[in-house]
Amino acid sequence: MPILQTDGLTKLFGGLSAVDDLDLRVEEGEIMGLIGPNGSGKTTALNLITGFIKPTRGVVTYQGENITGAQPHDLARIGLVRTFQITTLFENLTVRDNVLHGSHLNNPTSLIGSLTRSRKYREQCAVLEEQVQEFLAIVGLDGRIDAVARDLSAGEHRYLEIAVALAARPRMLMLDEPATGLNPEEARFLMDLIRTLRDQGVTVLLVEHNMRLITNICTRITVLNFGAKIAEGTPEEIVGNEDVVTAYLGKRRGA
């Protein structure tokens, strides 16, 4: 059974279909790529799956459960977490606070505990702090824990964004064009990071328009154009697919 599955997912914006009858399968433990040229409906598809917008038609199933139209925060609760195309952080807060905010679902402290600062509360805080350090170590930001988010570089922004998402303990992580704005070295680190996450048991759906970047880390790739699926398969199959090449390069005139 796929961990995530969409059937006939469709979103119309004033008669135009941004996502058109999309059937998507993501298997547990894989890195699935969702690619397509700009404007092909990738982000809309992600927004539909994660409940940020409501689909016109279609069904989204996660771990066998129908989650169509569920609220984003309820999805996070069952392990479905996303990042955003434009890096989205709590920009005015420190790196530590960003990850602590991200730990909302795993924050065991009670209101009474935080008012009295009981021993139990302090212990829980110490555990949280440890976890924050761990998440930051995974993304390589342990040295920047007291920096304010908006002072970070573009690469560090992305890494922190992933650390915040990790703090919500996702079973499935959906990354929206995470490599945008990164230099090749940062992009490589990011891809290694995504592999590490997969190895730790997180299923990844990677939305990207840069095909070259993800062919070597994805197990399977689905290609969208004008909101519809035009190809699906292993990276090798996709690279050789004529429709995909046409979609990316445009039809040759007169051909």
Binding site: Q85, H101, R117
Partner: protein
């Protein structure tokens, strides 16, 4: 994990000493001690408004209505049912909090920012109309009089000095709770929605739930301040729910500095003292306050307290983002475009 600002304690001790000694040194007659009580009451009101402005990054024009509502609730209980004001100090915030929960639920499901400000204005004015018109219950335009003061072991807290210490303790309690709330799970959730609602949702924070609860909490706090007012001045009238007190709370918050905890306390001190100093000017007073508010918003958007922090040279880098009125949240020119 708590980042302690040494500044808070550095300021705190002498301020506390001044606060404790004020009624026996500087403010010796009962009129002047009454001003001290007013400072404490407005400070609680300002802190509660700042919970909406500073922590939630939102604005409620109905805040004074909850203040007046708290005052009426406690007054009615004491006058009609003969219930002790001590119970009123609990009942008023509970009642205001419950109404805040209801209105927050109606308003915060969909509206934020400007829309929320206007919607709460509508509720506020409706409440004011009811207070003015529902004569059998509210006493109409003249309000309710001869509200009893609270008593302790049969001894009524009538003297300004006693009431001041009483209000001061409660104010410090509110400040304490607010400062601890910031690092609590609840406070973090609220702050995360303020900073970035989409991100907060995506990591599992139910934005509506926490905003409604936070709004209700602020309403409860201001209802409590209203009860303090009712049992001190011992009368209430519909004006308490009106825009004039809204304006006063705004000045208290903005002059002091939003999102700073001690800012509204300082704002309250400044407002009450300056207002007293300008008392001879009668109707010019609010004209002057209008000018002051505009100048503050224009030239000192962070308020007095952060300015003092800066002057003390110990400002941490992280705090300068906090002071700005409505930092984060919706910006005027944000495109917010999401491609795909």
């Amino acid at each position: 994990m708590q980042v302690r600002s040494p500044l808070r304690y550095w300021f705190g001790v002498p301020v506390l000493v001044v606060a404790l000694l004020a009624p026996v040194s500087l403010f010796t007659n009962s009129y002047n001690r009454g001003l001290l009580v007013l400072i404490a009451i407005y400070a609680v009101g300002g802190l509660s408004l700042d919970y909406i402005m500073g922590e939630m990054g939102q604005f409620s024009f109905g805040h004074a209505a909850f203040w007046g509502f708290g005052a009426y609730v406690s007054a009615k209980l004491a006058l009609d049912l003969g219930i002790s004001p001590w119970f009123g100090f609990v009942a008023a915030p509970v009642a205001a909090g419950l109404v805040g929960l209801l209105i927050g639920y109606i308003a915060l499901r969909r509206t934020r920012g400007l829309e929320l400000a206007i919607v709460t204005l509508g509720f506020g004015v409706l409440a004011w109309t009811v207070a003015l018109r529902w004569r059998p219950v509210t006493g109409g335009p003249s309000g309710l009089r001869q509200i009893p003061p609270p008593s302790l072991f049969g001894w009524e807290i009538r003297s300004e000095m006693a009431y001041y210490y009483f209000a001061l303790i409660l104010l410090l309690g509110v400040v304490f709770i607010l400062s601890r709330m910031r690092e609590a799970r609840f406070g973090r959730a609220v702050r995360s929605i303020h900073e970035n609602e989409d991100l907060a949702k995506s990591i599992g924070v139910s934005a509506t739930k926490y905003y409604v609860l936070a709004f209700s909490f602020a309403c409860a706090m201001v209802g409590f301040s209203g009860a303090l007012y009712a049992h001190h001045f011992r009368f209430v009238n519909p004006n308490l729910l009106g825009l004039q007190y809204m304006f006063i709370f705004l000045i208290v918050v903005l002059v002091g500095g939003t999102g700073t905890l001690w800012g509204p306390v300082m704002g309250s001190v400044i407002f009450v003292l300056v207002s007293e100093w300008l008392r001879a000017l009668q109707e010019y007073r609010f004209l002057i306050f209008g000018v002051v508010l505009l100048l503050v918003v224009l030239f000192m958007p962070s308020g007095v307290y952060p300015a003092l922090q800066k002057a003390s040279g110990r400002l941490r880098e992280r705090s300068d983002s906090k002071g700005q009125v409505f930092s984060g949240g919706q910006k005027h020119e944000s495109g917010g475009a999401k491609g795909g």
